[in-house]
């Protein structure tokens, strides 16, 4: 107690103390460094050691980047200019830019088509990723797969139109019969869709014009990072719904459905992806009637989708198991039927819990698309290992090419990861 009030025990403050900044050692950068970098001598040594290592990496690699060449025609030309100095030969990226992105057989006059499809992908994905956007944008999302197919593969527009028409017919049949029985609607819808495609296939062949607006490109000619994006986006967006169905099927009370799902999941998870890709590439042809052409990319998409959907199913099963039984009971007791309970109550919560696991698999799947280089498809890695490194001009340029590939994949995967964290924060509604 201060002197002025020493005579009384009761205390009343008469003057307010002005706030003063804390001592220099307790605030700002000094305090932060003290706490986080030099709190004791072990940490101090570790800090200095790490700084040294980082500095070494930067100092040693800086000249390699700084002296980098961007516009030479070959590796030999790079070496000539550098004359023994360290320096990267980035010219391979600029010279082979289109090949890295689109592969070496895609017609160069048509590069704008996959480019446009890539840009439209963002518009199509936006309403799915950001719930606040107007729901009407989903119409474009529904059209996008067919549009993108037409843009990338070109050829007659009837193919994507008939494909889309099949889905519409299937849905209409489903909606018509679902009221009577879910099974009738479900299988009727699938049968109707296949019937439409079969009939449409015959009609489409007959009416297809010789000259098409967009030049047709063969699946074999797809390549570069475009192929990775194509496989990654398609397989992720197909394997999520399939994974949900498998996870629900595995929980089913009907032994047959449950059995099929368990066998599928366990089998696919027990087989390396590479094996499945070889099956898609070589073995599958033996089982198909001779003369059938079954598109290679389609085969690969089916295999990768099956592979990742089995994993996603298991992640979602974890999410379903984490929900308290009371949630199912509450939904039941309110009179919601099974599809409603799943869609409105169970899946939104289970998927929210599963987001980190699903993203983990999506990122892994996207990177695994480079495995198609093993079955001689020329994706980004296939292009680098094949046509580019085998060429006389660029034989021996490893660092630059693989760093570039790593950078492209990193950008996409980091983006996915950041989005998922944002999504988790958005969906947080306090604890249950």
């Amino acid at each position: 107690m201060s002197d002025t009030h020493a005579q009384s025990v009761a205390f009343v403050r008469e003057t307010s103390l002005p706030p003063v900044p804390p001592p220099a050692s307790q605030a700002g950068a000094v305090k932060w460094m003290r706490e986080n970098l030099f709190s004791n001598w072990v940490n101090a040594v570790l800090t200095i050691g790490s700084l040294y290592i980082i500095a070494m990496i930067v100092v040693k690699s800086a000249p390699w980047f700084m002296n980098g060449m961007w516009d030479t025609p070959s590796l030999a030309a790079c070496r000539e200019i550098l004359q023994g100095k360290t320096g990267a030969c980035f010219s391979v990226l600029t010279e082979r830019w289109n090949q890295l992105l689109f592969g070496f057989k895609y017609p160069s006059t048509e590069y704008w088509r996959p480019g446009l499809a890539f840009l439209l992908l963002f518009i199509a994905a936006a309403p799915v990723m950001f719930f606040k956007l107007p729901r009407k944008l989903l119409i474009f999302t529904a059209i996008y797969p067919f549009l993108a197919f037409w843009l990338i593969w070109g050829g007659t527009i009837w193919t994507p139109l008939i494909a889309a028409f099949g889905f519409v017919v299937g849905y209409l049949v489903y909606a018509r019969f679902m009221k009577q029985s879910f099974a009738a609607g479900f299988f009727g819808g699938i049968a109707a869709a296949f019937l439409t495609w079969w009939l449409g296939g015959m009609v489409g062949e007959a009416i297809a014009p010789q000259e098409t607006l967009l030049e047709a490109v063969n699946s074999r000619d797809m390549g570069g990072f475009m192929l990775n994006m194509l496989l990654g986006v398609t397989c992720v967006s197909l394997s999520l719904p399939l994974g949900i169905v498998l996870a629900l099927g595995r929980q089913s009370n009907l032994p047959l459905i449950k059995g099929i799902c368990v066998v599928f999941i366990e089998f696919i998870r027990g087989v390396p992806l590479i094996t499945l890709l070889f099956v898609a590439n070589v073995v599958l042809a033996y089982f198909l009637p001779p003369g059938t052409t079954f598109d290679l990319i389609l085969r690969v998409i089916i295999m990768i989708t099956m592979f990742s959907s089995a994993y996603i199913a298991e992640v979602i099963r974890g999410g379903l198991a984490a929900l308290p039984k009371g949630q199912y009971e509450a939904a039941d007791s309110l009179g919601l039927d099974y599809p409603q309970a799943m869609r409105l109550i169970i899946l939104p919560q289970a998927l929210k819990i599963s987001i980190p696991g699903i993203v983990n698999i999506a990122v892994g799947l996207f990177k695994d698309t480079t495995l198609v280089s093993v079955i001689s498809m020329f994706d980004l890695v296939g292009m680098i290992r094949g046509p580019i490194l085998a060429s006389t001009e660029w034989n021996g340029v490893y660092w630059e090419l693989f760093l570039f590939a790593a950078l492209l994949f990193f950008i996409v995967c980091y983006g996915i990861s950041q989005y998922s964290q944002w999504l988790e924060r958005q969906l947080a509604t306090g604890h249950r």
Binding site: P324, A330, S333, L334, D337, L344, G430, R432
Partner: protein, 255 residues
């Protein structure tokens, strides 16, 4: 009691259970249950844990399956036919010990979900109904919050409002207050008493004997899967007939 007698009980039968038996594996949980509930009745079911009282009321809306005997709710016989089950569940509301609100939906959405999807009520109207019942349980101001932000007592009251939004003719309460702090028990019981006074048919599994004395017109004591004794509350508490009931009452009222 005086208040209980004021509330009318009609002759119309709401629930009739005959010779109902249930097993968990080979364990016989419910044995030959016979129970008829008239419309407007308020029944409290008590008994030691494991006596099958929760299982009994969960059989009424088919959350549990019974293996023998019949259950008839509102004239509809419970069978494995899923359409009948859904029909009954629409007429029977239920409140759980752990509330079981949907944590990913706001309070208002919790209340409007079933009317919109099951009853096909237009959204606007469903929201009006929801607000009406939220006012009734005295928490309209929480409508936009999420269940995780509410206290236990508030959550249970939302759960009651959520059931009421379906305009059920029968309400089942499965130990609605046993997960709550003493202060919150009172607010939930008040809501339930109010509901009883309006003539709702209620079956409550609870150990709140004060509540039983005040609103119940019948108290049922269960032990080992059987109904051991049932009587009017006054008679039940002051003059229990069976030894098992006497022991149970002396234990829970002894403190």
């Amino acid at each position: 009691m005086a208040e209980a007698q004021k509330m009318e009980v009609s002759d119309e039968i709401a629930i009739s259970i005959r010779k109902m038996n249930k097993w968990y594996g080979s364990f016989h949980v419910l044995r030959d249950i016979d129970l008829t509930v008239n419309r407007g009745e308020r029944i409290v079911i008590c008994g030691p844990s494991g006596s099958g009282k929760s299982t009994l009321i969960r059989c009424i809306n088919a959350l549990e399956e019974h293996q023998k005997g019949t259950i008839e709710v509102d004239g509809i016989t419970l069978s494995s036919d899923i359409k009948n089950v859904d029909k009954i569940r629409r007429e029977v509301g239920m409140c759980f010990q752990h509330f079981n609100l949907f944590p990913h939906l706001s309070i208002l959405e919790n209340c409007t979900l079933a009317p919109i999807w099951v009853r096909k009520t237009p959204k606007k109207e469903a929201e009006e109904i929801a607000m009406h019942f939220l006012e009734k349980v005295k928490i309209p101001e929480q409508a936009d919050k999420y269940p995780g932000q509410l206290s236990g007592g508030q959550q249970q009251r939302v759960a009651i409002a959520r059931s009421l939004c379906m305009r059920p003719r029968i309400m089942l309460f499965d130990e609605p207050t046993s997960a709550l702090d003493p202060e919150m028990i009172a607010e939930v019981l008040d809501t339930m008493i109010e509901l009883a006074e309006e003539g709702m048919t209620m079956l409550c599994v609870t150990h709140e004997m004060g509540f039983a004395r005040k609103v119940a017109n019948r108290v049922i004591f269960m032990d080992q899967g059987q109904i051991v004794e049932q009587n009017e509350p006054e008679e039940f508490f002051n003059n229990p007939k069976s030894e098992r009931t006497q022991l149970f009452l002396s234990q829970i009222l002894g403190h």
